[in-house]
């Protein structure tokens, strides 16, 4: 009995504690409400003498440099564009921090902040030539390691301070600092970039650690506001969590409410607003990112015009959910825009460290047993395209002669018999008691419908697929430790194909590399090394084509599908240029990106007109634009 009695005070204790915690939370949240604009407009209070200044090189840049600039590439903004309006976007979750570096900073929102940070130079999204950003002129050093830049003297930080060569030297100092808690950046800015040499306030050189082709892709760093950060110290991560850092781009954060929205305001007197490639762009006065946690709710907001644009790439939205009054009455336009950019190598990666996939015939048979065409036709509504190989969309670097292995029962038969397998009583191939049953790992629910169809079709070919959906992080660990048989996944892309990380033996049979197929082929290794070391563009292109052929021949990657376009729905008062986007555009309504962003504008007259029509519940002709300027040929 004594036990029972003892319990009562304990329960009481809990109640009291809970009450205290709740009231504390309540008080805290009330306080938070009032301080909603923390961090904003807190300018740097760094003493003048503490500001970083790089050593000035006495020698000056080499005399025989050939200074280049680019003012002849075609413009892609519309001269009709007008300024004004507020553009509303949705984001899935409120950013965990406004830092773009350090813990928790790698979120979808980071691109919005980074989009407002210009670099030395940029790339023209259609021609892929270098275009000026903060630098007006650039020159390549003879050592193929160094690039020289002349800065635009009118370049300003958002707080009015001029952007100078010291800010670029400071970037190196900043990125190498231990206090930013970003090992990847520490490493990158040490291993890839050797030093920044300052000749005067507006002339500098950036030197890479090794000679390499396409040097400008590595060397064009951005500036870091040294007058804002001053001396870095312990506690950087916490101190700068919610600070709004001065930037060089067209917009700056002007208002936030934690957990609800972030508002960006256009700089009326932005220093670069009349520059050739920035003219008539970044037209909207305010860009608001509102937190909407769920797709279905976002769709409802969009239909109420509380959000201005909605991504309709998934077939379900384009074909089914589009049957809604706002679209049928022509208040909302839909656009299907084909872009021509690098495609993620999405498909099935076969682990050659597993006994079953060591045999090339079995790998080929597996590829021929995947009825991807049926998936595309019957599940993906013929909206997706067959990915032919892992390196589509790299321009001359892509080998368009390679065709993925098609579903073909005879070929499966041929290769399996060649490998010495026989069909078992259940129709599945077997050899020495091992059935041709393969475990397929994948990380997202959205792939399940595709995989169940693949599984049923593979059965016909005598191949059994076991589907294993795992939580992304577990799934990643399992792949890193090479415990998978096959995995369905994609990778990000960079401007040039990167073969070494995915197919070189240096990265095979090791944990945590991108060589998930554990490909180790001496001949391929040689080609990849030659590709990496070559400084000659034509040679690199030739090698690239050969490497892709070899990768296809090894057959450890079964490419599935790609989406060579974007589809969006937008309210009709938003206007786009005649060619609404660029070859590289991943959204037609990106507000910031220095290459592809800010092409759209707000048409007040159309807005008023539409509002009147909607009030009267009149109908307008529904509009679906299909834009194929950049459609890839297959």
């Amino acid at each position: 009995m004594s036990v029972r009695l003892d319990k009562k005070p304990f329960v009481l204790n809990i109640t009291i504690t809970v009450t205290i915690i709740f009231s504390a939370l309540f008080i805290y949240s009330c306080g938070d409400e009032k301080k909603k604009t923390i961090g904003i407009a807190e300018a740097g209070t760094i003493a003048k003498d503490e500001i970083f200044k790089a050593e000035i090189s006495k020698d000056g840049p080499p005399k025989d440099l050939r200074w280049l600039t680019n003012n002849s590439d075609p413009l892609y903004a519309s001269p009709e564009a007008k300024k004004g309006g507020t553009f509303r976007n949705a984001i899935k979750s409120f950013p965990l921090t406004f830092r773009t570096i350090g813990p928790d900073s790698n979120t979808e929102f980071r691109s919005a902040i980074l989009g407002n940070q210009l670099s030395l130079t940029g790339l023209h999204p259609n021609t892929m030539n270098i275009v000026p950003e903060i630098a007006t002129h650039w020159a390549f050093g003879k050592d193929k390691k160094t690039m020289y830049f002349k800065l635009n003297p009118s370049a300003r930080w958002s707080d009015g301070e001029p952007v100078t060569a010291h800010d670029f030297a400071y970037t190196l100092e900043f990125m190498r600092s231990k206090h930013i808690v970003a090992p990847w950046y520490n490493d990158y800015y040490t291993k890839e970039i050797d030093k920044v040499v300052v000749y005067d306030d507006y002339t500098l050189a950036v030197k890479g650690t090794k000679a390499q082709p396409d040097l400008h892709l590595k060397i064009t760093i951005g500036p870091t506001p040294r007058h804002f950060y001053g001396q870095l110290e312990e506690g950087f991560v916490r101190r700068y969590n919610w600070k709004v850092v001065p930037n060089t781009g067209p917009y700056q954060i002007s208002d936030i409410k934690k957990g609800k929205f972030v508002k960006f305001k256009r700089k009326r007197d932005w220093w670069a607003k009349d520059l050739q490639y920035f003219k008539n762009r970044y037209n909207v006065n305010n860009v608001i990112f509102t937190v909407v946690r769920d797709d279905n709710i976002e769709w409802e907001y969009f239909k109420k015009a509380k959000i201005d644009v909605f991504d309709m790439t998934p077939p379900k939205y384009w074909h089914v959910k589009s049957r809604t009054p706002v679209i049928e009455n022509g208040y909302v336009y839909r656009i299907w825009f084909y872009n021509d950019t690098r495609r993620s190598p999405f498909g099935l990666y076969l682990n050659q460290d597993k006994e079953i996939f060591k045999d090339i015939n079995v790998r080929y048979a597996f590829a021929h047993a995947m009825n991807i065409q049926k998936v595309i036709e019957n599940v993906l509504r013929n909206d997706y395209f067959r990915l032919e190989h892992g390196f589509v969309g790299y321009g001359p670097y892509s080998n368009d002669h390679i065709k993925a292995r098609r579903f073909d029962l005879d070929k499966v038969d041929y290769y399996m018999k060649k490998a010495g397998w026989k069909r078992g009583p259940d129709g599945v191939w077997a050899k020495n008691g091992r059935r041709f049953s393969v475990e397929i790992l994948y990380g997202s629910e959205q792939h399940t419908p595709k995989l169940v169809v693949l599984k049923e079709e593979a059965r016909k070919a005598g191949v059994e697929l076991e589907l294993q959906k795992l939580d992304p992080s577990t799934w990643y660990t399992k792949i890193s430790e090479s415990k998978h048989e096959a995995v369905m996944m994609g990778f990000g892309t960079s401007l040039r194909p990167s073969y070494w990380q995915s197919f070189h033996s240096d990265n095979a049979h090791k944990p945590r590399t991108n060589n998930v197929t554990n490909t180790a082929d001496p001949e391929l290794d040689k080609m990849i090394e030659a590709f990496r070391n070559s400084l000659d563009e034509q040679e690199r292109i030739d090698l690239s084509l050969k490497i892709q052929e070899k990768v296809h021949e090894i057959g450890s990657f079964v490419p599935t599908s790609m989406v060579p376009y974007i589809r969006q729905a937008y309210w009709r008062w938003w206007r786009l240029p005649e060619i609404p986007g660029t070859q590289e555009s991943k959204s037609l309504f990106g507000s910031f990106d220095s290459a592809t962003g800010g092409l759209f504008w707000y048409d007040k007259q159309l807005h008023e007109e539409t509002k009147k029509v909607m009030k009267k519940k009149d109908k307008l002709p529904p509009v679906t634009i299909i834009e194929e300027t950049f459609k890839m040929t297959f």
């Binding site: 049926k374 019957n378 038969d413 129709g427 169940v452 169809v453 599984k455 016909k460 795992l470």
Partner: protein, 318 residues
């Protein structure tokens, strides 16, 4: 229902029950797969019996085929040209409840899903009861320190958030049928323990136990021969409700995506699809209806058992 579901292969299957081809009889339901070439077709993979039956009819050679009432299994995708699933119910195509988002027959998935769910919860019940009843009895019978220590252990154990544990475990590895039972039983045995402890305490104090003890019966004998039969009414009464609890638990885990791996037919997964495609009313509608019927049936059975085992009628004092 359970009994009928055991023969689901005969009732709901893409394989035919009987095929008569050139005078020979084939029974493809159970056993190895029969390739298309056996029946004079031009492919080596598993025969499509629905097509075969159409083929036989047009040929008219006296070959015939007997298909199950629902000629689809739970995995195959019945896709059509120029149309996209989910397809609404159709008597003509024998998709009595329509198809799901990848063209699988819903009726078929309901039946097979039911079989999995009900056996899952029966087995889970078994595990829970074996562990729960023995520990509960032991606690009640011996009492004292043993009881005290186990009480604390159970209190701690029952504070472990069960759903989170399952979510964590199944995100690390994909659980199979048996493993899921073990995981759930790991946390599920607590409920019955408390009841058993109390009941055993009560029974222990009765004269017949004392008598048995006086006669020199062993603890083991007293617990299993004397006390357990007298508490059976309580155990049995709880059982049906535990079964329906098990079905609901598995369904909700599948709904959240932490249950059995796809493409296992499961009610939870159908429910999830129904929610995501509210305009395809037949998906959500059929699952909800099926759940109502099953859970109601289980509850009615439970009520009946409770009445049948009324302790006033069935107390045995040996």
């Amino acid at each position: 229902m359970i009994f009928a579901s055991l023969f689901a292969e005969v009732l709901v299957n893409k394989r035919a029950i009987i095929v008569n081809y050139e005078g020979k009889y084939y029974f493809p339901t159970y056993g190895d797969m029969i390739p298309g070439t056996t029946f004079g077709l031009d492919y080596k993979y598993e025969t499509n019996y629905r097509q075969l039956s159409v083929f036989f009819e047009t040929e008219g050679d006296g070959n015939w085929i007997l298909m199950p009432p629902v000629p689809y299994d739970a995995y195959e995708n019945d896709l059509k040209e120029d149309q996209f699933p989910p397809f609404p119910p159709s008597m003509q195509e024998k998709h009595y409840l329509g198809t799901d988002t990848v063209g699988r027959d819903i009726f078929s998935r309901l039946i097979y899903g039911f079989r999995i769910a009900i056996f899952f919860s029966l087995l889970l019940l078994g595990f829970n009861y074996v562990v729960g009843v023995s520990i509960g009895c032991a606690m009640g019978y011996w009492g004292g320190k043993f009881d005290l220590i186990f009480q604390r252990i159970i209190e701690i154990w029952s504070n472990v958030p069960f759903l989170y544990m399952i979510i964590i475990i199944s995100s690390i590895m994909v659980p199979n049928f048996l493993m899921l039972i073990v995981i759930m039983a790991f946390f599920g045995w607590i409920g019955i323990t408390w009841t058993m402890r109390t009941v055993t305490y009560k029974e222990k104090a009765r004269e017949y136990t004392l008598a048995a003890k006086a006669l020199g019966a062993s603890d083991f004998r007293i617990i299993f021969k004397h006390i357990l039969p007298n508490t059976i009414a309580i155990i049995v009464t709880f059982a049906p409700f535990a079964v329906s609890g098990g079905v609901v638990a598995l369904t909700s885990l599948d709904y959240l995506g932490f249950g059995l791996p796809p493409p296992t037919p499961s009610w939870g997964e159908l429910l999830q699809q129904g929610w995501a495609n509210l305009d395809a009313w037949w998906i959500g509608g059929s699952v909800i209806l099926a759940m109502i019927i099953t859970l109601m049936a289980v509850t009615f059975v439970g009520e009946a058992i409770r009445e049948a085992f009324d302790p006033k009628m069935h107390t045995t004092y040996e």
